[in-house]
């Protein structure tokens, strides 16, 4: 009865989504670890103020792709990246680009919470210090409060800022790592399975946080939890054997994906 109008609504939403500008553009991205090729000409664009989820079975290349976005692969000796990745207009593999500055613009949160063995306060101010984002104690204080607030951790730790970050619970540590990433005012935040070491409550808090951070940042998240991808993202990209299989609106991806391999993977079937 309302079939046409629903379709019209969907189309309007699609158009809205399609009009969101790209923050990062990956063109023909391939990655080699020595002789082994891990990614095959991936063309994947990341939209601004959007959560993009990367899913796929282990070893499919989703984390590898994530790491190309802030050149984390540089830290692996025999790793080689071809193709082109731009952040706004800048080619991030341009030899003249400052990698440290790039990683300030494209921050990262890892699977296991990895706070520095320092105080909560120092964990947050570490990045801003390196990048010279603040000078006076008042300025640092402000960054700490703001970052912890953005990470939804302020109320829990404001009375013990000088205690070690490693003394927090796993979920709090992960949010501290997010606060640390946020402290240098990045434009893009990469998250590599940020909740896989957390319990459901801590996971829910991080997901809530992702939802809030989306207003100010562009987020790319790798997750093994299909439900999490469905919950937190607006766009989803499915990787398989180093190839990008499908990239689609998250709602479409989890109700009616186009590709059979996506279908099999998200439904937990044999391919």
């Amino acid at each position: 009865m309302n079939m046409m109008s629903e379709a019209a609504v969907e189309k309007a939403l699609d158009q809205k989504m399609n009009s969101v500008p790209y923050k990062m553009i990956g063109k023909d991205v391939s990655v080699y670890y020595g002789e082994k090729r891990a990614l095959f000409d991936v063309n994947l664009n990341v939209r601004e103020n959007t959560v993009t989820a990367l899913i796929g079975p282990s070893g499919c290349g989703k984390s590898t792709f994530l790491r190309t976005l802030n050149r984390m692969n540089d830290t692996i000796d025999n790793c080689r990246v071809t193709g082109k990745i731009t952040l706004d207009e800048d080619d991030i593999y341009d030899p003249n680009i400052d990698v440290v500055e790039l990683r300030a613009r494209v921050g990262m949160v890892f699977q296991k919470p990895n706070p520095f063995p320092k105080s909560i306060y120092d964990n947050v101010t570490y990045g801003p210090k390196i990048h010279g984002l603040a000078r006076t104690k008042a300025e640092f204080d402000q960054i700490v409060e703001l970052s912890l607030q953005k990470a939804g951790l302020w109320n829990e730790v404001k009375d013990r800022l000088h205690e070690p970050g490693t003394g927090l619970s796993g979920g709090q540590q992960q949010r501290l790592c997010i606060a640390r990433a946020v402290a240098v005012s990045p434009e893009v935040i990469l998250m590599d399975e940020p909740c896989s070491a957390l319990d459901p409550i801590a996971t829910a808090k991080v997901e809530e946080l992702i939802h809030e951070l989306r207003a100010n940042y562009t987020i790319v998240i790798v997750t093994h939890s299909m439900q999490q991808a469905a919950r937190v993202s607006q766009r989803t990209a499915m990787f398989h054997l180093g190839n990008l299989v499908e990239e689609n609106d998250t709602d479409k991806m989890f109700t009616n994906p186009d590709d059979q391999r996506t279908q099999d993977y998200i439904m937990g079937r044999f391919g």
Binding site: M3, F254, T255, Q260, G268, F270
Partner: protein, 237 residues
Amino acid sequence: MSSSHIVSVYDEDLKYLSRRISEMGGLAEQMVADSVRALVNADLALAQKVISDDVVLDEAERQIGEKAIITIAKRQPMAADLREIMGSIRIAADLERVGDLGKNTAKRVIAVANSSLPRQLARGLEHLAELALMQLKEVLDVYASRSPEKANSIRERDSEIDAIYTSLFRELLTYMMEDPRNITPCTHLLFCAKNIERIGDHATNIAETIYYMATGAAPVGERPKDDTANTVGAIGN
């Protein structure tokens, strides 16, 4: 449905739903057929059986709903699996309504049994029921095959039932105008006809659900409608 789940019990959960739907379909079909037979032959015992069968159908719907909810909670189904489970819930609800309509027809048998109405009317009802039952049977076959093309073709045929219903409506009006003593039985028959016509609508609903289960999209275009009974008697008709 090309491959099975890594967790094999999951497949069993889905198979359970699909089997129970087929069972419900068979019972609903039989109830409708029995109710019309009871009406035409003034068979009170058969009408009573239809009424008691409805309890079984209601219970089946409840069990399917429960299994569906548990499966959703346990397995967090995605894509085609999710559509399959949501579809089961909807189809079970449609079939339960079909059973209710059969039961309602059966309840009217007593009221109509004592009056003498022309055989012609009964035949009209029988013909309407045949068409509705054929549609129900076909839609259940399509459910087994999950073919979106066939689901669409069933959807397009509902207009035939609607047209016959409209002509029965006119016929019943004529009898009532001829002799006011016909009004009571004819009104009951009118409800029976409406019940049967509604069964066609439920079959169409089920076809649409199957289409959605198979493709993830709603069928394109308006549902065909030839039921003009709602305007019979209006000026110009």
